[in-house]
Amino acid sequence: MLVKALTAVITVAAGIGAAFVLYWILNWISEHIPGDWGRRIQPYLFILPALAAIVVYTVYPAVLTVINSFKDNFSRHWIGLANYRALFGSDAFRSTLFNTLLWILIVPAACIIMGLTVAVLADRLGPRGEKTTKTIIFLPMAVSLVGAATVWRFIYDAEPKGSTQIGLLNAIGSIFHKGPVAWLDTSTFRLNSLLLMVILLWAQVGFSMVLLSAAIKSVPTDTIEAARIDGASERQIFARVVVPQIRGTIVTIFITVTITVMKIFDVVYVTTGGAFNTDVLGNQFWTQISTYFNYGAASAIVVIFMIAVIPVMWYQVKHFQTEEAT
């Protein structure tokens, strides 16, 4: 125990010391280069360590992944577009893409609508009521998605007809003598995927609600009163006055939740493992790399994912820049 503590202290000290020495050396170099050059390249020299770390740990692996998507399962031989052809040619993968698309279309929109609803309604309660409601809605954020998925798996659980139902939904159903429904196995109209989305919404609405509540409260009251004087109804005030002024927050939440949803893995892995037509890109990537040891296919999935994320990221950066400007 003491040895480990001592090693930790020495490691931290050594790390700090090494960084100190590194920058001292870079400074020394820039000071001793003749003429004006020293001062000009000094900022670039100082950025160099951080830039090097980013290139080595982020850019290089990304480039390698793209290259690997054109190689075979152990990245030994070039096979061109075979991985992409195999993926897009398989029914299972197309179903996975469709599921991911469903998630992307439904969850961010639902998250914002639910967050807005709670924020607006909680606003009308008294201060204590508002605080309690918001705390309760926000609590699920403290649970990891794996924990949330495990809990909800018990809510959706189904036992054979005749046994005691331990799943909440089926237990309530059995009070009304409605036979047990295997919720997570039912993929008609993608019911089980919708039920899995409920899990993510349950965990994420708190985030959306908190940001939207702050945004709503920051809308200047004179704009609302002016609208009221002009004879607008409550609904018109909300839609025409409040919402346009909180547009920035809505977009931020939309983008954040979209990126979370595109990556979703733990919810699906813990509940159904991707079976019964619930598979999503994140889970399929895991299966390819960990069960099938097919690094080529896994890299191809990541490349597809990277391409899909680029528009979202571009929009986020543009949005961030416009926000900065105002």
């Binding site: 090693t7 010391g17 001292w24 189904a158 054979p160 892995y269 493992g273 040891f293």
Partner: protein, 440 residues
């Protein structure tokens, strides 16, 4: 003044860096084992009690030989995945216990596993192991994976007191089993002939593949079974279609399975068997599962295993027909070919290595000449003797097929078919389509 302060700071920084470098050098020097090292590292994912028993015996035998070899045996989670990653990182153990022949084939493909033919006594192994055990780990004619522990599948479990009270006899052929099922249904609908569940967290469907494999090997024998694994017999074939029709007769006929066909995809493999023991009336008479299912029975049953539970071999296709047994187990693979590692492998390949693990854990030895009195109860002894007296030991097909099929489409298509989402012909075609074009 300033330059003084600067010199002190510089000195301090240099000392820190020096300390850091020494620490790194020391830790890497101590940790790594070189090629002439006397420490042999073993990795396995087996149950901790099994590992503890095997390790204890191994260390004792090395001590008796006055050997200076040290054993470093680690339990790792998900060794299938870990070993492939570590092989590519160049950071492997000396010996690894691998539970899937498909993964052993991957290791050979990557050039990481070394042949065992000259290390172990092949003729003695052929004599003392059930036929088929060595073939499971033989790739391109050389032995790369030697079965170190075994588990048995294709076993039918029953509630011993209820069974004897009802007067049922162990069926000795599949037609006799069918007759027994009708007799059970005639007795009353409160207790169905079978409990069946194919659900499993994260990997639903594998119990259905066990049913297919059990029926396949009894109906058609080891050669067709191995051809099926090698994709020479496709899933869309008269043999597999016949097996599918047999399974649907057993599982889908109303009244045969507790809960009916709709409950099968939802019933967990771990809890479905508890239907054997419900009081006052059991929900079912028979449950087919592997030898490890005893660990999932209710606690009261586990405490009195020999008196509460009976087990018989899923009958052969015809009276007196061939009796292959389906099983699995962890295979010893050797990744470093040094004299010390070879010594350890030789010891692990002996029957006595299980002497300590057998009484204290769920360990079953793959050797026919293992001292069976060491098993902790009669149930384990019956299971082991079913395996030893079988004509052939055939490894679980879904563990031997490529992972995209064996751990992928075979499972998921079974679930889809049982859940009535896809026809059997479509399911079999889908599985064939998913077979990797070139397993490079």
């Amino acid at each position: 003044m300033r330059s003084q302060a600067r010199r002190v700071t510089l000195l301090g920084a240099a000392l820190l860096v020096g300390a850091g470098l020494t620490v790194t050098a020391c830790s890497s020097g101590g940790g790594g084992g070189g090629s002439g090292s006397t420490t042999v590292t073993i990795w396995s994912s087996v149950d901790p009690p099994v590992k503890a028993g095997l390790e204890k015996q191994l260390v004792a035998e090395l001590g008796a030989q006055k050997s200076n070899i040290k054993i470093n045996w680690q339990t790792v989670t998900n060794i299938n995945q870990l070993i492939i990653t570590k092989i590519q990182a160049g950071n492997t153990p000396d010996i690894a216990y691998i539970p899937q022949p498909g993964v052993v084939a991957q290791m050979v493909n990557l050039g990481a596993a070394k042949p065992l033919n000259s290390v172990v006594d092949m003729s003695s192994l052929q004599q003392n192991m059930v036929p088929g055990m060595l073939q499971a780990g033989t790739i391109n004619g050389k032995l790369y994976g030697l079965l170190g522990s075994a588990n048995v599948k294709g076993l039918v479990w029953y509630n011993k007191p209820a069974w004897t009270a009802a007067g049922w006899q162990t069926p000795t052929s599949i037609p006799a089993l069918t007759t027994l099922m009708s007799q059970m249904k005639a007795k009353g609908s409160a207790t169905a002939p079978w409990c069946l569940g194919v659900n499993s967290t994260g990997s639903p469907g594998w119990p259905a593949t066990d049913w297919f494999e059990t029926l396949m090997m009894r109906d058609y024998g080891p050669t067709v079974y191995n051809d099926w694994i090698a994709h020479k017999v496709k899933f869309v074939s008269p043999q597999v279609e016949n097996v599918a029709s047999q399974f649907s007769q057993i599982a889908f006929t109303p009244g045969n399975v507790y809960g009916g066909r709709t409950a099968i995809p939802t019933n967990g493999f771990d809890t479905a068997g508890n239907g054997l023991f419900t009081t006052p009336t059991p929900k079912c008479w028979m449950y087919m599962q592997g030898s490890f299912i005893t660990g999932f029975f209710p606690a009261s049953v586990q405490k009195s295993l020999d008196t509460s539970v009976g087990v018989f071999y899923f009958p052969p296709a015809t009276e007196g027909g061939q009796k292959p047994v389906e099983g699995g187990g962890d295979m010893i693979t050797m990744l470093n070919d040094t004299p010390n590692v070879e010594t350890v492998v030789k010891l692990l390949a002996q029957p006595q290595i299980g002497n300590d693990a057998a009484p204290t854990s769920s360990f079953i030895s793959p050797f026919k000449n293992f001292n069976a009195s060491l098993y902790p109860n009669n149930t384990t002894r019956s299971v082991a003797s079913i395996m030893y007296s079988a004509d052939d030991f055939l490894f679980d097909a879904s563990d031997a097929m490529p992972a995209q099929v064996g751990a992928g489409s075979f499972w998921s298509q079974m679930v889809a078919w049982i859940g009535n989402q896809v026809s059997i012909n479509q399911a079999l075609a889908n599985i064939d389509q998913s077979w990797p074009a070139t397993s490079s």
